[in-house]
Symmetry: C2
Subunit: 226 residues, 2 copies
DNA sequence: AAGATCCGGAACTCCACAGTATCGTATAGA
DNA sequence: TCTATACGATACTGTGGAGTTCCGGATCTT
């Protein structure tokens, strides 16, 4: 991508020899965060470099000293996006799969997801034209959540709660996909009720847990719905 | 939306009295079709009125005589989008739910779906800013397919194949949502294998049909995976 | 201290596109 | 035939944003 000066008689690396004030790299994260905010609010095409610079209290020239173009700035911003608390270590472990899924529903997590979806919507228009952007978005937004779901389900397989025949690679994408549709196209909130509906109406039944013909008790959430 | 001349002393409707060459309304569908093509290829922001006019072999002024702005042209194009063959009358009826789902996988249908997804991607950037566009896209692209799925599942309930407790209102959105994710973000093809995986790995298990612990035979598609 | 480079800020160039106006031509009604 | 309008084509205007350049001031190295 960036081949560095193959020139002949440079003393060291020519990058070592630089004089003057050093670039303040502590500002990079602030600028990238500002870019993500504007991106979520206006979308990629509505977003201007001036907006980002103003929001970050920086000069437009400063941004262009660090990123060669708007495209690269946005790709970097998405790629450097910090995950929520989706590390395996911080995932819940309640003993049952349903308990784990429900424990993942936290206001913090919902809010985080909504913002990520706004960012995804803003990026959507350029995903077709810029595959590297599609990869960055997928890696930063969807994959971590899918991996968390897969981890919980694999653990349920390991302890014998669900069958190892289950297609968890497909099922771990159900929640992210349907939450995206609900946010981006239906424009309805991805709230606790919706997520519980997904867990009890799709995920657990597909894994062979409850949901099947519901013997008697109040095991179901939704009423017969006229 | 369009209030017509409340003027006082018009002979008839004043729209009747018009002289000269009449507008050729047979061209409207061609222009809207051209708009959809360009939209799918370049996205809303990359699309220019000139592109649409050129593609439709029409003058730019002609487009502006019929639609007041680019926004309204696109909204109209999406709203007037013709459905594929998703009428209840033309849906398959094989006697089993799996048979019906599989019978809906046709090259024609897949191709149609891919194009609609491209259109959806192109619209995504303006969905937040223009709710009426979000509704138009939802009604034209996703809802018909969800309705077809719901119809097939309701029929399976009626004939006793699956339990009436199943949350078919949620489940009918699984395929459209996950196909959208696969096309738009993962950029993988929504082919027959993928759709079969959804049917056998998510939908049917969630409805209480097969998929559960697979007694013995080679009922599963994927091997145990290392 | 001196020179080099960074900073935020603002003015600037350049270009693409939405929307308008004008042209010669084609087609409708009177 | 005459007039009014729609047509495709092309030229034009206005605006907005990407990317560049310049400035005075700050910060680093030597």
């Amino acid at each position: 991508m960036t081949q560095l000066e193959p020139a002949g008689a440079a003393e060291t690396t020519a990058a070592e020899t630089k004089l003057g004030r050093k670039r303040d790299h502590t500002r990079d994260p602030e600028i990238l965060a500002a870019a993500l905010e504007v991106l979520a609010e206006t979308g990629f095409d509505g977003m201007t470099i001036d907006m980002v610079a103003t929001r970050a209290k920086a000069g437009k020239a400063t941004l262009y000293r660090r990123w060669p173009s708007k495209n690269e700035l946005v790709i970097d911003a998405v790629a450097c996006m910090k995950q929520g608390d989706l590390d395996q270590a911080s995932l819940p472990d309640t003993g049952t799969l349903r308990g784990d899924f429900v424990a993942m529903i936290k206001p913090r997590s919902i809010e985080d997801g909504e913002k990520k979806m706004q960012i995804m919507a803003g990026l959507m228009s350029m995903l077709s034209a810029t595959p590297e952007m599609a990869d960055a978005a997928n890696n930063a937004i969807v994959k971590p959540r899918a991996a968390a779901n897969r981890f919980l389900m694999q653990r349920a397989i390991d302890r014998g709660e669900i069958s190892p025949e289950c297609d968890i690679d497909t099922l771990c994408l159900v929640t992210p996909s349907m939450a995206a549709y609900r946010t981006l196209i239906e424009r309805k909130p991805v709230d606790r009720d919706f997520l519980i509906t997904l867990i009890d109406g799709v995920l657990l039944p597909a894994l062979g847990l409850r949901g099947d013909t519901a013997p008697a008790g109040r095991g179901k959430v939704a009423p017969p719905a006229s």
